[in-house]
Amino acid sequence: MSIYPQAHSYGQAAYPAPGYPQPGPPTYSYQQSTAPPPSTYYVDPHSFRRDYAARLAQLTINSRPIIQSLSMVAQEYSRWAEIVVQCLEAHIRRVPPYMKLPSFYLLDAISKNVYDPYARHFAPFVVPLFLETYQQVDQTTRSKMEEMLLTWRTGAPSGKELFGFITQIAIERGVWGGDRGAADISKAQVLSELEFTLSQKERALQANTWDHEARKHVEVLQQLRSLVEAGVSQDELRQILSQLRSLSQSTAPPTTSSQPQVSYPQPSSTYQYPSQPVYPARTSFVPPAVQHSESINSSYHYQSTDQPKSEPLDLSALLSTSVSSGPSTSTSAAPPSNIAGLFSALLKAGIVSATGTPVGDSSSAKAEGSTPQPSDEPSENEREASRSYRRAILAETIKLTNADITKKRPAIVRFMYERLSVQCKQCGVRFSDDVMGRKDMESHLDMHFRQNRKANQNLGRGHSRSWFVALEDWVHDTSTDYKGKGRADGVRPLNAKASALAEAANREAELRAQFVIVPPGDEAKTISCPICKEILKSEFLEDDEEWVWKNAVKKDDRIFHATCHSEALTSVQSLAVRLRNETTGRSRSGTPEGISSRASPPKETASLRTSLSPTAESKRAALKRKAENDDPSFHMTATFDNDGTPPMKRLALEA
């Protein structure tokens, strides 16, 4: 559930979001922009330690508020940094693998946001801690850790390695093997760095949809990713890697705006906006891409508020110029000599065409961002835009009569196309070229961005259909309650998410409620789960007057944790699906991303299940499910057991 972008953005709500025009100098401190830290005042280190450890125990999921608040406390009590560091280390080592990532995000946040003295306190043990954790977690978590590791390269306020060069190298070597920049470069490493650079660019694009340069970069990088996935030579890998590095270094400062380290008083382009004079559009100065769009943005505001403070700008003219300048926009944009090199390499490899249009049509993030930044100052403009629509609609003289309906020439083109002149290139949905439309477009593109990311992460995974929601939830679904906000097309109703979560929790609880009766005489015997090797807990059921193993399921005369077993089944199932998909995909076309949908998931999933005997392969996947009843996150199960509710009758999940 925790994807890295969320982690990146845990500071986003708290800090001024990138690109929002805001008056006055930017604020950097936590206190001004978030809820104040808990007001408890610690007089002695012992009670501080106790309390901090207790708060840490709540960090069982990737929760932005919890991470923020723990990070704030760490900042405030930096005189007791050692205690914070010790607590966090102990916590990371103690929690089950699936809970480790959020704790690392906290470590990341504290180190970047407060930096001194924390980074140097973490530095001595962050290498083994990272690598040991990396070994224990599943593939998804690993790739998130890799992403985080990449941000550490430039995580220090100076733009250098967050925990120092030596530490960084040591971790990277542990993760990818080999020396940084030396001989054998693995495909995984290049892909990982590609993803990272791509996410930087996508964020840049998202923050500034006018940035054609960024859009082109995104497209190029996506092509590049397909290429690397399909397989390239060592030489090419090295070439790509070195260009990627210089590229991501050169773009690092602007992207910090969407990362936790925005709290540094380190100027980033986002923060410069408000304090810089807005360049009049007709000035001879050719501003860098970012400021360029800012000037459009502000003039545009003037225009729509009818305050002729600056000359109104012809948006479409501007748009067409920036579009027609095509690939050569790099001349008007600030840094990208590196991407130009990358570009020419790609050109040589035949991946992109000279016109800048990628060959093939796989550029999924090719969203048309013809809208400038949204402004958060809303209502009056927004209301006026709606009012103008309403007036136009009511001005139509049409009645619900047969004559009117069948004889009139509808003004539909005006309403459906002309008024909505901005179109999403990805799905065809249109928006009006006004405040309201821009806002909707913004959240719409944001939705595509998140969805593309998720889809990439989930590729080939077996999906399930969500249970339909409960009646109450359907009736009172308030996600569509008020206008404009988060209501743009594509925002999945809250309920879908809620029901998915509830589903997962429900399933977890059901698995945990399963038990196996201890054969008479075996009460003293300890047995361990073949998957995770942990000892199964036994318990006496008052109602049935029998000893049982909790969270247990019997298979082929062996007893597994029900949760471990289920996890193993799932991974085997989805593996089978993926294999089938990949096989058919490969045989059919050479397109790297052309994974076929031809393959039906195995019809006889049941037979797959019966033949299953979980192996070491599935152990790792299963590990993250393993959690004992004393885990705070599973108090649901605990109460279920303790409040006298009869446990669910004998398990029925037979395979």
Binding site: F431, G437, R507, E654
Partner: protein, 485 residues
Amino acid sequence: MQNDSKEWVLDAETEYRFELDPGASLAIKLVHGQAEVFGAELAEGKSYLFGSECKAAIFTWQGCTLQITGHASTEYVSDETPMAAYANLHIAFEQMRVRALRVAHGSPNSDDDPNANAEPPRVLVLGPDNSGKTTICKILINYTVRAGQNWSPILINVDPSEGGWAVPGAIAAASVQSPLPTASPANPLGSAATSAPTALSSNALVPLSYWYGHADIKRNPLLLDRLIRNLGENVRDKCDGDPEAYTSGLIVDTPSSFASGPTSGASTDSRHTLIKACVEAFKINVILVVGHEKLNVEMQRLYGSRLTVLKIPKSGGVVELDLPYRQRVHKYQLHTYMYGQKIEQPPGISSAILGGEAVTDVVLSPSSSIINFNDLTIYRIGAESMAPSSALPIGAARTVSEMQPVLIDPASSGSGLLNAVLAFIAPFNPDETERYDEEILDLNVIGFLVITNIDIPNRKMTILSPNQGSFVGKTAIIGSFEWEE
């Protein structure tokens, strides 16, 4: 580009119509201009995939060029479409929404006709077989969500043979916020939510669904009447609590059997009763009758004094659909419910869009599980073989058994469970004192399953379902649909 692809140049206000054979698929790319498929606009340069015997049309208001790859059994361009009338309808409905919104905001405007109706459009669409009712509903919904006003109209499907977002046999309502895609007859109204991330919220719809269980409305009209009223009550509750849903209005798609049948007798009574149930349940204020003069007259006579009854033209593109086709569509729907949407890309096409999503994103992995007989409580509503209402003497009252939940024993050889499609229903009221005899009739659906094997000696059965989680302890209702892969 590909040898099997052709370009079609369409003039303004014409449409490219196509029909596909079983197993065939078509990829359509908008090369330039603007085009829409049943009201959902196409993005330029993307390949849209169609399959599962889809019969559809790409319409353009201002002209366009399409590139078509794959083989259609029938394809032609027509310049006679009823789209102008549908567009006029949309604008008239927009006026109603705008007025309703003003009233909701407490700001009726002086520049408007003070006598105008300030109710949002609540539209019942009636029409005989092959009149394109569902398509009209879809176009009207799509135009509404495309208006740029953040409307979220509720689309209601009371045609149990269509099943809307679920499987055939169900009736359902869902709030729509993005255009409904068209790709296959398996999910003509968008898709219900899955664990997969989707680009369109119309592929992650959250329906409220009730299980009727049969294709034919005459099989148990009393039950259907009750389910329609249940659906209506909850839709009203939703609108009461959500001004935006209220002002966006609703559109109800109906079975063709509401519109056609003998002009007298019990069957006429039951269809009139069901139309009345819809009008009351959803507080209908506009009835659209698609291309059927007699029905128009009938509705004018019954409802003309209270609400707007309007006859609208039907599209010449609507194709006659025979029974075998409808049965194949039911199979497609069930397969899609279980496995997600799958359509082969035609040769030479890669990375096409299927119903607005990347092809790989819509694949589900249903689970097949073996459970004990008593893990699931299974009911049938009414007697197993019930004479259709039409066979009863005129005026004869139904026995209560029509609505009676009958417990089914999977161990009995005639249980009819093998290959049956069942609906999981929401749990009974946890508060025992709130329970009542026919409560099961009023519980909404939470998912569906198919029983793929029954092992009577070991008292076990195999069930297939795309939902995750345990099925133990749940209650399910059987209907008359069966499915085999």
